[in-house]
Symmetry: C2
Subunit: 302 residues, 2 copies
């Protein structure tokens, strides 16, 4: 079987797409036709019905965007909120996405000492309904990262520069050698990822670099020519298409841009309001197509 990163590149080329659709089912944003808001009054008591609504909503979104994206990214926190019912939904979603020909990047930001990291890798990369890649947090160093790279059909996206306002608190601390901390994390990840390079020239050890800091994005792209980027923060978090151009290589490869709320809940946005809440899937489809076009245009690709 192909390395994860080559599978990703292949699907991106086949779909001429550099987007990633996040699946973040914020319960209070689901259409009333899918989830009766009254059920949210007592979430614990109505967990099963809520989980069923989340599954339906996400399956519809998946089917609607499958033509325009190579990969979807469920944010596991929203499934963990639903307890054991949420885990069942997540498994079904992963299977459904893979049946639709999509890769699944599980946004879990897991991290721990080696033996525990191995347990996480087993939890999410095991045979049945397993994700294709996972986000991880690099704070514990290589022990906490390598277990996720053991299976070369799987990928890991380590946090490098995150997209949130307080990313600067620790990631931007200045080191004695003049670099910023996140730049040193970048060097570290690049070295660690070297043995996991695919034919496409990128490594199975990828990195998360926020779109909300465009200048940093350009510099880190230059610094890490073999590190594939997941770029979050597009849309709801404030990053636009122009901001992310610098994250790609000269071939328009090497990165995917994630949007979650902007696609999942497009039906609530002014631009797609005319679809109506009941046609949330069509609205998401239109938003995904538009985002793909917008990014390809910025990269001067058709």
């Amino acid at each position: 079987m192909k390395l994860f990163i080559d599978q990703l590149q292949e699907k991106m080329i086949a779909k001429n797409s550099r987007i990633c659709v996040g699946l973040d089912p914020h319960l209070e944003l689901l259409p009333e036709t899918v989830l009766d808001p009254e059920l949210l009054q007592d979430q614990a008591a109505n967990q099963v019905e809520i989980a069923a609504a989340v599954l339906k909503f996400n399956q519809d979104i998946l089917a609607a965007v499958a033509d325009f994206t190579a990969v979807v990214k469920p944010q596991i926190a929203f499934y963990e909120k639903l307890g054991s019912a949420g885990f069942k939904v997540l498994k079904k979603l992963i299977k459904k996405a893979q049946t639709e020909g999509l890769l699944v990047l599980l946004d879990a930001k897991r991290n721990d000492i080696g033996s525990t990291a191995a347990a996480y890798a087993e939890a999410y990369f095991a045979k049945e309904t397993a994700a294709d890649a996972i986000t991880i947090n690099p704070y514990l160093g290589r022990d906490g990262i390598l277990p996720f790279l053991k299976n070369k059909n799987k990928g890991a996206f380590a946090l490098l520069r995150t997209s949130n306002p307080s990313a600067v608190d620790l990631q931007d601390l200045k080191l004695a050698n003049g670099k910023l901390f996140y730049q040193a994390v970048g060097d570290f990840l690049a070295e660690l990822g070297e043995p996991y390079l695919g034919e496409c020239g990128y490594s199975n050890l990828a990195a998360v670099v926020g779109a909300t800091y465009p200048a940093e994005l350009a510099a880190i792209r230059k610094q890490l020519p073999q590190t594939f980027f997941l770029i979050p923060g597009y849309g709801a978090q404030g990053g636009g298409a122009l901001d992310i151009k610098a994250g790609f290589d000269s071939q328009g490869q090497g990165a995917i841009i994630n949007s979650s709320r902007g696609i999942n809940f497009a039906y609530r946005a002014a631009a797609y309001k005319n679809y109506g809440a009941e046609n949330y899937a069509e609205a998401a489809r239109a938003a995904a197509r538009e985002m793909r076009t917008e990014i390809n245009a910025v990269l001067s690709l058709k």
Copy 2:
């Protein structure tokens, strides 16, 4: 209700105990009388039986050690490995621990942007069978930490200096101001934790500092007089009782020392082998009592 950190201190004093018992059900270490090793041949097919064995084992351990510890720390990776069945086990365990009068520190090392961190806080601190505290990873800065502190009855333990061999990879990078990165993380956590101080003088925002680096432990205790420490790495990871003395304040407070494998699987250790595998709970009880005594002795407490 009392602040989390005051609840912890109160229970520690009541039990004259500075230990924390990790609940890390490594499946291959469970006694054969509890878990038939043949079931491990096909974990996916036997998930329900395996989960039942994990529940039984942990309930027995809980009951056995309850006299000697204020707090237990389930490592969530081992429950996530069991999928939705594992989540049900975890909920039952949390309830059982709290019924036994123990606090539950969920070792999950969660981390994300603000809105997602809030979802995690809701997932693990919500009303029913909720944990009392959680471990978190501070890499995303304050946005990713503050949602876990919103409810003052709950606590958060942020990774500062971890106990694994590659902790040094990133945590020990030298900053321009002469400090090491983890020391700057310490200053950051202390400042962030200031509004959450309890009557005991410590903050609901606690920190994880490994026992495997004793010199660092002494320095960081001095640096952060209001930060409570969870000290892992005792026992299986190589830290001994003398190594951890420096983690406590002059009153012998301000820290808990975690042991997971050393207590859970005491029945496999030379010192407790005479109990026999079927008496794993009694072996764990003896190991917990011994660890409490050892640590109190090092601190010159009875």
